[in-house]
Subunit: 380 residues, 2 copies
C-alpha cells in the first residue's frame, strides 16, 4: 500500500427511509445506497466533495479494500496530497442507482416478490440517480457541496446536480461529458443493448437463477471499449500488430492484438457486471438531456437556475463526447453569466483519458478546488 | 424503368476451369463467379471498366432485374450518359469470392461433402477475390482494363488489382478506402464477428439446415451501420428525435429514431445476407495491407510495380477510412512517380457517401474516365 493512499477503506450502506419519486412517475421503495468516504468533514461542514462514477464504476474510488491489491478506480486522483486532497476535503463516492455494486438495481431483491427485479425494475434517469445521492447527503447531514466531480456518465450527474440542487452545489467539474446524449452515443448504446437482449440466456431479464447472458454482455462491452478509445489511441496502442504470431492464422482466432484486447475486456467485464444494470444505465445516459427537452432545442434556458462555478474539461481525442459538446455547454453557462473555466486537454487516449494519469488534469483540478475552497470560506 | 438506365439486366455465371490458388496456400476448386455486364466491348477491346463492390454488394450494379422495381446498387453512377457511361464503356461487375450473391462462398455446396462449406470454406483475402475476378476477365477475353473502380472493400480490390496485375490496369479509382485496415476498422469488424459467433444458432458455422444466427448478424450489421454513417450524419439525420412518441417510453423499446433505424437495418439485412459470408469478407478486409507486411511498415515500396493512373477520392466525414489514409496512399503513389489525382469531397454522410448521389463525384469520375479513354487510345 502506497503512502499517499487513503489506505484501507470499506464500503458502507445507507437505506433511504422514504420512497424515491422517479421521473417515470413510479415510486421506488427500499433503496440502499453503497458509498465510501475519505478524509474528514470539517467543523464548518463545507469541505465535502462528491465524486460521481461512470457506467461500470462503484463506490470504491480510492484506497484498498481488505485483502485487495488493486486500489479504487480513481486512486490516482483521490488521496492525501493528491488533486482531490483527502487531507483537506471530505470525499464521498456512492454507487449509482441501477448499478450492481451495492446500490439498488435490477439485480437487487424486490421485496414484493422476494426475487430479483429484472425488468420489473423501473427505468431510471440520471436525475433519479442524483435524487438518490441527495438522500445520502441528507443522511450524512451535508449542507453544501464544495464540489461535485465526475467524468462521462458521472459528468452527467455532476451537471444534473448543479441544476437540480443549485443552492447545494458551490462548484461542479464535469469531465469528458455532454449536456445531451448525441445520436451517435445513443446508437452505440442501443447496439450494445441489442447484443445483450439477443442473447437467449438474457430471458427478458430473468436470468438470475440460471445462465447469464455473458456472451451478449461481452459483445456489448467490446462495443463500449471501441468508444472509450480513439482512432489515434488504437493506432498507438495496437496498430496492426499481431498476437503471438508471425503471420495470419487464416481462421477466426484473434490475429491482431486489438482483437485479443477487446475479447479480454469483454470476458473480464462479465465476471463483475450485471447485464441488466448495463441496460438500465445506458438507457439513463441516452435519456439524458439537461435542457429537459425530448427533442433538440436551444440551450439558453438550461442553466438559468444554476449557481455553481464550473470547471469544464474535455479531451482532444474523445470522440464519444467531443470537445464541441463541452464548448456548447460552456456557451450555455456563459449566457447565464456563470463563472466557467474551460480546458481542452491534449490527450491521445480517447474518452478514457479522464481515468488515466494526467498531470495537466491533476494540476487543473487541484488548483480549481483550492480556489473554490477559499471562495466558499470567503462567501460566508 | 427510367430512360437513362441500362434497362433489363440478368446475372450470368462463370465457372472457373482451374482451381484457385489462395493466399492461405490451399487450392479452391469449383469456383463460380456471378457477374453482370453493361454496354458493349469495342472492337479494340480497350473500353472495359471493372466495378468492385463493397461488403454486402453484388454483381447487380445497374439496371433492373425482371420484375424488380429496385435498380442495381450503383444505378446513379452506371448507365447511358452517366459518369460510368454505358454508351462508351463495357462495364463488368462481379460478386466477390466469399459472398453469398451467386459467387462461391461459405454457403455454397462443397462438392466433396455435398453440404454447404460453412467454416470449411478457406479464409480468403482481398487478393484472392482479385485473382477470381482475373479468371473472369480471361474468360471474357479482356486484354486490358480501362479502369478498375470501387469504394470501401471495393476500393481495396481496386488497389490490389493495380499492384497484382499492373500491366492490365490502365487506371484505378479507389473511393473511400484505405491501403491498410486500421486498428479501429479491425476492432469494429471483430466485435461484429463476435456478435455473430455468440449467437447459439451460429453453431460454428453449420446452421444451413437449421435456424440461422439472425440476431447475431443483425447486431453485427447495426455495428456496421454506425461506421457507415458519421457523427455529423447522425446528428443531421436523427438528432434526438423520438420515434412516434411525445415522450420517453421508460422501457427498452426504441425511443429514438436512430434506434429504430438501426433495428430496421439489422432486421432487413438478415433477410438477404449470409452470416458466414459476413465473417469471411470482414476478415479479408482486416487482413488487407497492400504493403504485404503483417505489421505497420513503410509504404515506399508498396506501389513500386504499379503503372496505373490513379484517381483517389475520400470524403470529409468518412471516419472509417478517413482522408488521412487516402493521403497516405497518394503520398506512396507519388513517391513512385505515378500519375495521381486526389480529391477530398465535402460530404456529411460519412463512409456511405460514395454510394449516394453526389454531383461532385459524378463530374470528377466522368471527366477522369474520358481522359483515361483518350489516353489509352493515344497510348497504342
Amino acid at each position: 500500500m502506497k503512502e499517499n493512499s487513503v489506505g484501507l477503506t470499506t464500503t458502507q450502506y445507507f437505506k433511504i427511509n422514504a420512497s424515491l419519486a422517479l421521473d417515470n412517475h413510479e415510486n421506488l421503495e427500499e433503496v440502499t445506497i453503497a458509498y465510501e468516504t475519505y478524509g474528514k468533514l470539517n467543523s464548518q461542514r463545507n469541505n465535502t466533495i462528491l465524486i460521481c462514477h461512470a457506467l461500470s464504476g462503484d463506490a470504491h474510488a480510492a484506497g484498498f479494500h481488505a485483502g485487495a491489491n488493486k486500489p479504487g478506480w480513481w486512486e490516482i486522483m483521490v488521496g492525501p496530497g493528491k488533486a482531490i486532497d483527502t487531507n483537506k476535503y471530505f470525499v464521498i463516492c456512492s454507487n449509482i442507482l441501477g448499478s450492481c455494486m451495492g446500490t439498488t438495481g435490477p439485480s437487487s431483491i424486490d421485496k414484493q416478490t422476494g426475487k430479483p427485479y429484472g425488468l420489473r425494475f423501473p427505468v431510471i434517469t440520471i436525475s433519479d440517480m442524483v435524487k438518490s445521492q441527495k438522500a445520502l447527503l441528507d443522511h450524512l447531514e451535508i449542507p453544501i457541496l464544495l464540489a461535485v466531480i465526475g467524468g462521462s456518465i458521472g459528468g452527467m450527474q455532476t451537471l444534473e446536480w448543479s441544476i437540480r440542487y443549485p443552492e447545494l452545489v458551490f462548484s461542479a467539474v464535469p469531465l469528458a461529458t455532454t449536456q445531451r446524449h448525441s445520436a451517435l452515443a445513443i446508437a452505440f448504446n442501443e447496439v450494445a443493448r441489442q447484443s445483450i437482449m439477443a442473447d437467449p440466456n438474457w430471458q427478458n431479464g430473468d436470468y438470475y437463477q440460471s445462465k447469464k447472458p455473458d456472451l451478449g454482455l461481452a459483445v456489448a462491452r467490446m462495443i463500449g471499449h471501441i468508444t472509450y478509445l480513439s482512432d489515434e489511441a488504437m493506432r498507438n496502442k495496437f496498430g496492426r500488430r499481431l498476437q503471438d504470431k508471425k503471420d495470419f492464422s487464416f481462421n477466426f482466432d484473434a490475429d491482431f492484438q486489438v482483437e485479443s484486447y477487446l475479447r479480454y475486456q469483454g470476458k473480464k467485464f462479465v465476471e463483475r457486471f450485471d447485464a441488466n444494470s448495463f441496460l438500465y444505465i445506458t438507457k439513463a445516459a441516452d435519456y439524458f438531456d439537461l435542457s429537459r427537452q425530448p427533442v433538440d432545442s436551444s440551450d439558453s434556458l438550461t442553466f438559468a437556475r444554476a449557481r455553481a462555478k464550473y470547471l469544464v474539461v474535455s479531451f482532444t481525442s474523445d470522440w464519444l463526447y467531443p470537445t464541441r459538446e463541452s464548448k456548447a455547454m460552456v456557451k450555455a453557462m456563459k449566457k447565464n453569466n456563470l463563472d466557467v473555466s474551460f480546458c481542452e486537454i491534449a490527450a491521445p487516449w480517447g474518452h478514457d483519458a479522464f481515468l488515466l494519469k494526467n498531470e495537466r488534469l491533476e494540476t487543473l483540478l487541484g488548483g480549481f478546488l483550492s480556489r473554490m475552497s477559499q471562495e466558499l470560506k470567503d462567501a460566508f
